[in-house]
Symmetry: C2
Subunit: 115 residues, 2 copies
DNA sequence: TACCGGTAGACGGTATCACTAGGTACCGGT
DNA sequence: ACCGGTACCTAGTGATACCGTCTACCGGTA
């Protein structure tokens, strides 16, 4: 699979995960499964854990340890106020970027074959 | 200023520049000016030169040195066949990402965020 | 003359981020 | 006793954009 997608995920993956946590609290393994399910099949498991550590250290999420019937206890992450702020900021930046790039796309394929 | 945008540009800036070169050949300084004009004011000048070196080494562009009345000679970049291929690939990856993220956004919008 | 600002390109070092490739630990079924 | 699924964690790597700075040329101004 393209490392093109890999590079594009930089800066957006964090927002994606925050958006997931905005819907409901979740733990790492659950998030990776959810992403795989939703078509983000190329995202490595370790990446999510590293990302969760980052967002925790930045104070965007609250953490609760919940015992699991299978395996080690789950670390359940919940988006807090600061995280919701960050998510809003993410959507704002994302919108700006999409708008600008779509404009480029329109100007571009006026005389081009759309693959 | 958002380093959020900075991180998001990773992986997309190359496509943006290729899209610009798809419209017409250009040199580095011209591209930075064009970007500033189009709202990408947060992109550092040096970044574009480094990016142009990369895409040249990957064979996506052809280069021609053209003397300038002011300052050193311009390096005029033109998108070639391989570059057009890469650009098409970029648009494909971009579309997939936008689709997936927009879906997330729709599922997410419990709290309204005016654009 | 001497200096400044605009044009044009280049470089070195830094930070962030996602990936690879493992490892630890717990549990139930064969 | 072993294997596979669940669940988490880490170290090292590569790509990318950033910052500050430098070279070089030109015309206008003090």
């Amino acid at each position: 699979m393209g490392n093109q997608m890999t590079e594009m995920l930089k800066g957006t993956l964090e927002g994606i995960v925050l958006a997931i946590l905005a819907r409901r609290s979740a733990y790492g393994y659950e998030i990776t499964a959810w992403l795989r399910d939703r078509g983000f099949s190329d995202i490595a498991e370790g990446t999510i854990y590293a990302l969760l550590v980052r967002v925790e250290q930045r104070g965007f999420v609250d953490v609760e340890k919940v015992p699991s019937e299978k395996g080690p206890p789950r670390k359940v992450y919940s988006l807090n106020a600061k995280g919701r702020d960050q998510l809003a900021e993410f959507w704002r930046t994302w919108s700006v970027l999409v708008e600008r790039i779509e404009q480029l796309h329109h100007n571009d394929n006026q005389h081009d074959e759309g693959a």
